[in-house]
């Protein structure tokens, strides 16, 4: 990804994130989270993670944030009233965040920097032949065809990993989603005092 696009999407993401904690109206905060996640999805696409970028938009901004806004409207919240806040927790919180950022800068200044390895046609064709030779993909399959044509078949590769190496975690994830659904229904059921 060109540098200016990286900084553009990073700026959208960080300004959106800052607006989440700066705005007082919860609906405005939720829309700032949406802005932040759109910038984040742009960064994912720039990292050649097209599938992750798409589900970031579909799941997070499409489903999760709509659920947040729905709940905010259901609860009919007003703007937060100004209240006297004790200064000690605010200062302690800011100190924690500043300490974290200083630590981050210190670690990044010492760690070796890497540039992104090229994903051109030669590299992709080479990895296609390596995968075909190891027997993990078919020589005439969709993945090998796309790799030889110099395209990155991101969704196919993720799907292959998901249904081979990560099959058991995927099934467990299905159970977790079922448990979450049942839990939501149980939590939002009106409890009868006579029970």
């Amino acid at each position: 990804m060109p540098s200016y696009l990286f900084w553009l999407f990073s700026a959208v993401m960080l300004i959106g994130g800052g607006a989440v904690i700066a705005l007082r109206n919860p609906v405005a905060s939720a829309l700032a989270v949406v802005t932040c996640f759109v910038g984040l999805a742009g960064l994912f696409v720039g990292l050649s993670a097209f599938f992750v970028g798409v589900i970031q938009i579909l799941v997070y901004t499409g489903a999760v944030m709509v659920l947040f806004i729905f709940i905010i409207m259901l609860l009919n919240l007003q703007d937060e009233a100004k209240r006297a806040k004790p200064m000690t927790p605010i200062l302690a919180g800011l100190g924690l965040v500043v300490a974290f950022v200083i630590q981050l800068l210190g670690v990044l200044a010492r760690s070796p920097d890497t540039v992104a390895p090229a994903l051109d046609q030669a590299t992709l064709a080479e990895s296609a032949s390596a995968l075909v030779n190891s027997g993990s993909i078919a020589a005439s399959g969709k993945i090998a065809t796309a790799l030889n044509a110099g395209r990155l078949p991101d969704v196919h590769l993720i799907g292959r990993a998901l249904f081979t190496d990560y099959n058991l975690p995927l099934q467990i994830l299905g159970v977790i989603l079922l448990v979450a659904t049942v839990g939501c229904v149980a939590l939002s059921k009106k409890t009868n005092p006579s029970d």
């Binding site: 990804m1 540098s3 990286f6 960080l14 994130g17 989440v20 904690i21 905060s29 939720a30 989270v33 932040c36 984040l40 960064l43 994912f44 990292l47 050649s48 993670a49 992750v52 589900i55 970031q56 799941v59 997070y60 489903a63 999760v64 659920l67 947040f68 709940i71 259901l74 609860l75 919240l77 937060e80 209240r83 605010i90 919180g93 974290f100 950022v101 981050l104 990044l108 920097d113 890497t114 992104a116 390895p117 994903l119 992709l124 990895s127 390596a130 590769l157 993720i158 990993a161 998901l162 990560y166 975690p169 994830l173 989603l177 448990v179 979450a180 839990g183 939501c184 939590l187 939002s188």
Partner: protein, 105 residues
């Protein structure tokens, strides 16, 4: 070209913003949204490492699988968490964390 440290810096800053929101804000829904920001910052780190440390010339898809699982579990977590917030609001008529002190020791 943006390097690995640029991505790690941006993701660390997003994490710091989320941490600041969790510590500083008093509205429990905004605190919950800031938790999502922190999860997404971790996702950006995972995807950046997956792109910058290739296996067999391709991005390392193990990292992106972890991102996929994090996003799915986060969706389930949001559903349960918001149901708890709605139940809390029904019981107490507030979502301001300073008013929810009945479990303070």
């Amino acid at each position: 070209m943006a390097t690995l440290n640029d991505y790690l810096l941006v993701s660390g800053l997003l994490f710091a913003i989320g941490l600041a929101g969790v510590v500083l804000r008093r509205n429990i829904i905004v605190v919950f949204m800031c938790l999502e920001l922190m999860l997404s910052a971790a996702n950006l780190t995972l995807v950046a490492f997956s792109r910058f440390h290739p296996s067999h010339g391709l991005p390392d898809y193990n990292g992106q699988m972890l991102v996929f699982f994090v996003i799915t579990v986060a969706a389930a977590e949001v559903a349960v968490g918001l149901a708890i917030i709605v139940a809390l609001f029904r019981a107490r008529q507030t979502i301001h964390t300073d008013d929810l002190t009945s479990m303070r020791g």
